[in-house]
């Protein structure tokens, strides 16, 4: 059973990774003067949108998210609206943290917020897809030894790797190399994206490697 689940995860993660690659390549073919550095925000939005769409589609189709107790329409609507609210809140939270890290407060606010949206897509959106708008479940997953399924573990890994990627991405900014990617927030978004993609690949490998040790408590 576990092997099947891992295989499913591998394919799901591959699709997400491919969506990022497509978001980089396809507009470059279709649009003129499109580049990751030059029109960075466009790339960022396309990437965010495709990752979000693919994530939502895959996890709804796979049915990973916890089964709803009441399957009424109103319940679904509240769930979706709650998720949107959470997502917005997480964007604002990331924006705040990034400003605390030293991003300018007023200028480049749109760039900073776009970065926050990207980071939220890589982390919060996946949480919402897998766990649903359930704070208790989030706290459980992100506390020590709280993972209860391989999806929880993969969530931990991808979230950590995207955040660490964004964190490491800030380091080249002070260097005086004067490269186009040293401009805020390009290196951080690239770092976050690379971290996320790395997380997508690391998660199934890690789970496969540790499949003997990983004994999840039953829900």
């Amino acid at each position: 059973m576990k092997d099947i689940e891992i295989k499913g995860m591998v394919s799901a993660h591959c699709i997400i990774a491919v969506s990022i690659v497509m978001a980089t390549i396809v507009p470059a073919v279709l649009l003129d003067d499109y580049s990751v550095y030059g029109t960075h925000l466009v790339w960022l939005y396309i990437c965010t949108a495709s990752v979000a769409a693919v994530n939502i589609a895959i996890y709804t189709l796979l049915g990973v998210s916890p089964p709803a107790k009441k399957n009424t329409l109103s319940h679904k609507v509240t769930k979706v609206s709650k998720s949107c609210l959470y997502f917005m809140f997480s964007c604002l939270l990331f924006h705040g943290i990034v400003v605390l890290y030293g991003a300018p407060l007023l200028e480049l606010a749109s760039e900073t917020f776009s970065f926050a949206v990207l980071l939220s897509t890589f982390t919060t959106l996946r949480c919402l897809c897998i766990l649903g708008p359930n704070v208790q479940a989030w706290i459980r997953v992100f506390s020590r030894n709280g993972a209860m399924s391989i999806w929880d573990t993969s969530l931990q890994i991808t979230t950590a790797s995207s955040v660490i990627g964004a964190w490491l991405g800030a380091f080249p900014i002070p260097l005086d190399w004067e490269r186009p990617w040293q401009v805020w927030p390009i290196s951080c978004t690239l770092g976050a994206t690379l971290g996320f993609v790395a997380g997508l690949f690391i998660a199934p490998i890690w789970i496969h490697w540790h499949r003997k040790q990983l004994t999840y408590k039953s829900k």
């Binding site: 400003v99 706290i139 506390s143 020590r144 964190w167 002070p174 005086d176």
Partner: protein
């Protein structure tokens, strides 16, 4: 031998300071000079070269100018005269540059672009070493051969008005003088008026030959508001008017038959985009040099000025006044000045210049004969002789003038390459001293790291066994042999060789002992290290996320020092790490309060588990009842967030570093003259807050003293003119605030004395922890009061936030989450580092606030000034370190070894970057930015290690008390 870890740490750090000092002595050699005391004499000058015969020109050429007026405008940037600003604000000067009888150049200053080394360079023609920056705090009389001395010796009458650095450099040189201090950077009108007020009478008189005016106002404006402020324009116009006045007066004095006068307009250094100077960015290096004299040809149109070296002015002025060139000059004659003179005279001047350079080269370079410049000069001299022979024979053909031009070109080439190789030589390193210093520091680090991770209060050093071993004696012998070899073989003098034999022998013994200790520790580790590590790993469950962050952060910072941009922007590294640390702490708090609540939901009592411990240990928190536990939880959760917010605010208070230093910051906004009221309000509020934050744990006496002291701080700032006094009468004169500052000093000393008394009492009479922690806190509050006095008013919020963060972190985080001594120490160190930069410091010498060294002093006193400057610069790290002592002392009940362990970690945290950095600085010594980035950082590292060593000694003393008592 067993010693306590705090003693060991202090010892290591003090020895490391000596090692670093030795390294610095090698890294910053005094510039190679022909001889300090010798001066060029007219009699030594060579005669005109002439093949075969003795030349008829044997004397020094007569002066070219009758009188010279030097207008030196501090921090005059090249574009202030030649750029659009010059056209707009300096119409007269621009007109002279474009159409007048003038020569304009861009004179390149060398780093360090600080006033005193620049004046020295202008007057001696040599390039002062980096060490001159350090000496800038205490500029003694210039003993080297220089233009002023030569002029005085030749009986020239000199008049000087301006920056009193000149008076310190050239005491008793001037017939008339009036020095203005650069003491009050906030004053930019009075300093210049004090110079200009003498101008009219002086220009009318005829009894002087050289007039030097040094205007400081522009520099002060730059420091206050930067190069684009609205104050710059009027100041430049004022300077233009002064120049016009001098020029017209000189023109009116011009007589037929006598020599013309010369007016020199120059700057000592430029101004960076932030308005400071000291580094080596283009706007700091490029200064204008305008020579105006009726003997020059009138210009027809604006030409782009040529670039010359700043030191080139020295030989030019020497010839202009008919003086010998000073001995250590590396400058070259500016030839366009001689455009009117005959070819024979031009060649004569160039020969003299070349002769002086070749002499300097001979005196300072062992292999001078192989130098291309020297060879070129020899060839040029020979062809000069041949040309002279033909010339004196009365040959006036075209061939002769072509040949003369060729000789001229040969001379110019020779001068250029000689000057270049001489200036290169000034950055020579004394590798032997550097290596010995590095070896000492590295060995000490290795010895101390060996036992770093064990939290024992005592360390076992195999000292006696290694001192008696054979390898020790062999090593001693080997090192002595190396020393004798090195010192006898090389011709260039090493500082280490010039030390006395006893001292050298002590160092040799010390180094070999260290090596033996390292070897024996390693041997011991290898022989029975295996089983020990196993047992440790089984007992220790591994690192938490916080531990990983603390370790990677410390190591990452050390590695980042290899990149010059990371040194320039080191504050970014620390802010970044500090932010991450706060978030990690926040996560720890969340985990503690949320996860534990979930798992122990049924146990209501264990909701706030550490409250029991806190009841035992804390000496000031009230008993948290079960209802206040909820508050406690939320406050603990809020603490890291409040800290984050504080750090973000402080970060925008002072922009520092290089890349983003020009961005507007809150400090500049406060310091501009329109926001005087805001600044006063902020300063007053901050002082009140400081009082309330420090007050809690003081005794009654020191509480009152603290309050009065803080009041004194405000009245000092009001007296100096930084802040407004509510009941201050209008137009009150700005004083130095001596009385007010001394009033505060008395209270600082009083509080420190009370604290020391309590500490002594706790040690000798009663064995009372409470007295001791109160004593420590009083010492701490004395330090806070002194910092409040020395900090600029806009920096007082730094102090407030420092105290606030310390208070809330102690209350809710360090005690609540039970971090161990090592973790707390690392956090304190990080905070201390970040606060160093929050104060507005950077790794550039220019940001040192020298004005702190003059607080409460009538005139310059070396030792107090250095102490105060160092204190105010390192106030952030110092405050955090002393808070660490207070905190660890109050925690000793939990772990008896906390104090020693904390001291040990603190010493290690400092010595790792210091040791790694000196290795990096050695390997990067030919880096492009060695003067502007790596050298200042090296001085900062050395100074920081020294400060930390003294803190560690204090730690040890406190630890001593405890162990004596228990």
């Amino acid at each position: 031998m067993r010693i306590r870890s705090s003693v060991f740490a202090s010892f290591c750090l003090i020895m490391e300071v000596f090692g670093i000092a030795l390294f610095l002595r090698g890294y910053f050699p005094l510039p190679v000079k022909s001889s300090i005391s010798a001066k060029s004499k007219v009699a030594d000058l060579p005669t005109e070269p002439l093949a075969g015969n003795v030349a008829n020109w044997t004397k020094i050429p007569p002066p070219l100018f009758k009188r010279v007026v030097i207008v030196l405008i501090d921090a005059l940037r090249e574009d202030f005269v030649f750029g659009p600003k010059g056209k707009q604000f300096m119409p007269y000067t621009s007109h002279l540059v474009e159409r007048g009888p003038s020569h304009s150049f861009v004179a390149k200053a060398r780093a360090p672009t600080v006033t005193m080394p620049r004046i020295k360079a202008l007057m001696t023609g040599s390039i002062p070493g980096f060490i001159d920056v350090v000496m800038n705090l205490n500029s003694p009389a210039l003993l080297e051969d220089n233009l002023m001395w030569q002029a005085k010796n030749a009986g020239k009458k000199m008049v000087f008005y301006g920056d009193d650095t000149w008076l310190r450099l050239f005491p008793k040189h001037f017939m008339e003088q009036d020095g203005t201090t650069s003491f009050f950077v906030s004053d930019y009108t009075e300093v210049d008026n004090n110079v200009t007020r003498h101008l009219d009478t002086t220009l009318e008189r005829d009894d002087w030959d050289i007039l030097i005016l040094h205007y400081l106002g522009l520099d002060h404006i730059g420091h206050l508001t930067g190069p684009h402020s609205s104050l710059i324009g009027p100041k430049l116009t004022e300077m233009d008017d002064i120049l016009k006045k001098i020029h017209t007066s000189l023109m009116s004095k011009e007589e037929e038959g006598s020599l013309p006068n010369l007016l020199v307009l120059c700057g000592d250094h430029g101004m960076s985009e932030t308005g400071s100077h000291g580094g080596s960015s283009e706007p700091e290096l490029n200064t204008p040099l305008v020579l105006i004299s009726p003997s020059f040809k009138r210009k027809v149109a604006f030409e782009i000025p040529e670039t010359v070296e700043q030191v080139d002015l020295t030989p030019t002025l020497s010839f202009g006044l008919g003086l010998p060139i000073s001995k250590n000059n590396v400058g070259r004659l500016i030839l366009p000045v001689l455009e009117d003179n005959s070819l024979r005279e031009q060649l004569r001047f160039l020969h003299l210049n070349g002769f002086q350079l070749s002499r300097l080269m001979r005196d300072s370079t062992p292999a001078y004969e192989k130098d291309t410049g020297y060879e070129q000069f020899r060839i040029a001299e020979r062809s000069h002789g041949n040309w002279m022979k033909l010339y004196l024979e009365g040959n006036t053909s075209e061939v002769l003038s072509n040949m003369g031009k060729k000789v001229l070109k040969q001379y110019l080439d020779a001068l250029k390459s000689m000057s270049l190789s001489l200036s290169k030589q000034l950055g020579k390193y004394d590798m032997y001293s550097m290596i010995v210093g590095t070896v000492i520091v590295l060995f000490l680090l290795l010895v101390s790291v060996a036992d770093a991770l064990s939290s024992n209060a005592e360390l076992d050093l195999p000292l006696s066994s290694s001192l008696c071993s054979l390898p020790f004696y062999l090593l001693c012998l080997m090192f002595s042999g190396v020393h004798v070899m090195v010192c006898t073989s090389t011709e260039s003098s090493c500082y280490f060789c010039s030390l006395s034999w006893a001292l050298v022998f002590a160092v040799i013994v010390f180094v070999s002992a260290l090596l033996c200790v390292i070897l024996s520790i390693m041997g011991r580790k290898l022989s029975w290290g295996r089983p020990q590590t196993k047992s440790e790993s089984s007992s220790d469950s591994g690192f938490s996320e916080l531990d990983i962050l603390l370790l990677t952060g410390t190591l990452g910072h050390v590695l980042s020092l290899a990149a010059s941009s990371f040194i320039e922007e080191e504050h970014q590294t620390w802010y970044f790490l500090l932010n991450t640390l706060c978030l990690a702490v926040f996560q720890d708090v969340c985990r503690k309060y949320f996860s534990e609540k979930r798992s122990y939901k049924d146990l209501e009592d264990s909701l706030y588990q550490p409250s029991k411990d806190e009841l035992l240990t804390s000496d000031y928190s009230s008993k948290p009842s079960s209802t206040s536990a909820g508050y406690e939880k939320w406050l603990a959760l809020a603490t890291p967030l409040v800290t984050l917010a504080c750090c973000r605010i402080l970060r925008s208070l002072n922009q520092t570093g290089v890349q983003w230093a020009h961005l507007p910051d809150f400090g500049h906004w406060l310091n501009s003259s329109e926001h005087h009221t805001e600044l006063s309000l902020l300063a007053a509020t901050s002082l009140v807050l400081i009082f309330f934050l420090v007050r809690r744990r003081c005794s009654m006496v020191s509480k009152i003293a603290l309050g009065l002291g803080l009041l004194g701080v405000y009245s000092y700032r009001a007296a100096v003119g930084n802040v407004l006094f509510p009941w201050q009468q209008e137009g009150r004169a700005i004083s130095k605030g001596i009385v007010e500052a001394r009033f505060v000093y008395i209270f600082v000393l009083g509080i420190l004395f009370t604290g020391a008394k309590d500490l002594l009492k706790s040690q000798v009479i009663t064995s009372d922890t409470k007295t001791k922690s109160r004593g420590l806190w009083e010492v701490y509050s004395g330090v806070v009061l002194l910092a409040a006095l020395l900090f600029r008013p806009h920096n007082l919020p730094v102090l407030v936030f420092c105290l606030l963060i310390q208070t809330i972190m102690t209350r809710f985080i360090w005690k609540g989450l039970q971090y161990d001594a090592a973790q707390t120490t690392i956090m304190h160190y990080w905070f201390g580092q970040a606060f160093f930069y929050f104060q507005g410091n950077s790794n550039n010498i220019a940001t040192v606030d020298i004005s702190a060294g003059f607080v409460g002093l009538e005139n310059y006193l070396e030792i107090p000034a250095i102490f105060l400057t160092a204190f105010s610069t390192y106030a952030g790290p110092l405050l955090w370190a002393s808070h660490l002592v207070c905190y660890l002392n109050s925690e000793t009940d939990r772990s008896s070894a906390a104090m020693g362990h904390g001291c040990y970690c603190f010493a290690l945290l400092r010595s790792i970057p210091a040791a790694v950095y000196i290795v990096l600085a050695t390997s990067l010594r030919y880096h492009l930015f060695v003067w502007s980035v790596f050298s200042p950082k090296l001085l900062y590292e050395g100074m920081h290690t020294f400060v930390t060593a003294s803190i560690c000694v204090f730690f040890t003393a406190m630890d001593q008390n405890r162990s004596v008592r228990s």
